[in-house]
Symmetry: C2
Subunit: 205 residues, 2 copies
């Protein structure tokens, strides 16, 4: 038994670290946190950034409504407490992914500054990249990709961000992109340039 | 605007898939679910497996009490409902990691068959590898790495698995390893061999 115990201790001391995983992946684990109105283009932009980074052989993952709301957060509704818990869990999962060395992107409205700042506080300072997906409400409403604005205007959805609930734009985001003025490709490249500038991915690969 | 919308659609259709990520990483995303008594060696073994796989340039991550209980699941206690929710969330997060193409390992007692089977049900059939870390209770208690058995015997911890709460061993795990009979290195290699056999990582690299 003594020998067994000693073996255990050795292994414990020699765990694979986040540095090891980052060297393997040739990148820094980080969180790109997209925030903006419904229809502003958060998921579209996250997917576009993922394509660019994947093409450069980076390991990426996108957390969005599709894979989070129906899974991890399926027991949460839209009450204020549930909305807060929703963003809290997303922040914690994003932290785990960044600790794994992955470039993880989150694409949620996340309308409250406090909630976003709590997510930021979980992550090392230079590993959290807040991207404000800025798009005028009327453009988002004209797009109305999911038909939600129509329902919100008809009163079928209560407390809809931008219509009947507030959206608090970031005060000091790492990047603001205007999806009404620029193409998704242009916005995606602006995100990737920001990552290079911060030193999260190598330049020019 | 019409052009912008069309661009959105194009990008949406061309998202990076789990297949793409798996090709990049040269592995299949999967969940290795370690289950066993406290002190059986789950975390130690998961870390040992991670070392072997990392050395083979695989992308891995270990979910355990250290990074989950104090983060994502810090608002959960030890009531039956909270224990169930604890394992449910771990299963959902493991699913996200496997969808990212990562080989994710979970190291939690997870004493109930129902909870483990619910985690299994979330994951594709050939991507969930349940490893029973089998170790006699008296050996776990002799190790008592965290001093928890002593406290449980003294009645300071209620409902402690193996002492005052049940442990339900898996009926058909993909692998059983006996950490009292084999070294951690031997157990780790048995796990990796199982992955190769299932086709989750290439042989002999």
């Amino acid at each position: 038994m003594a020998q067994q115990k000693a073996t255990n201790i050795t292994w414990h001391e020699a765990t694979v670290t986040v540095d090891d995983r980052e060297k393997l992946l040739n990148q820094k684990g980080c969180v790109i946190w997209f925030t903006g109105l419904s229809g502003s283009g958060k998921s579209t932009l996250a997917n576009a950034v993922e394509q660019v980074l994947h093409h450069q052989r980076h390991h990426t993952y996108v957390l969005d409504g599709d894979n989070v709301r129906h899974g991890l957060n399926k027991n949460l509704g839209f009450s204020p407490e549930d909305r807060e818990e929703n963003i809290r869990r997303i922040g914690e999962v994003a932290k785990l992914f960044s600790d794994a060395g992955t470039i993880v992107m989150t694409a949620f409205i996340s309308p409250y500054r406090t909630d976003r700042d709590q997510a930021r506080a979980l992550i090392a300072e230079d590993r959290f990249v807040e991207v404000f997906v800025d798009c005028p409400l009327d453009v988002c409403e004209e797009r109305d990709t999911k038909g939600l604005y129509k329902k919100a205007r008809a009163g079928e959805i209560k407390e809809f961000t931008g219509i009947s609930a507030p959206y608090e734009p970031p005060l000091e985001p790492e990047l603001t992109v205007n999806t009404a003025a620029l193409s998704i490709e242009e916005c995606a490249h602006a995100v990737v340039e920001t990552l290079v500038k911060i030193g999260l991915v190598p330049a020019g690969n």
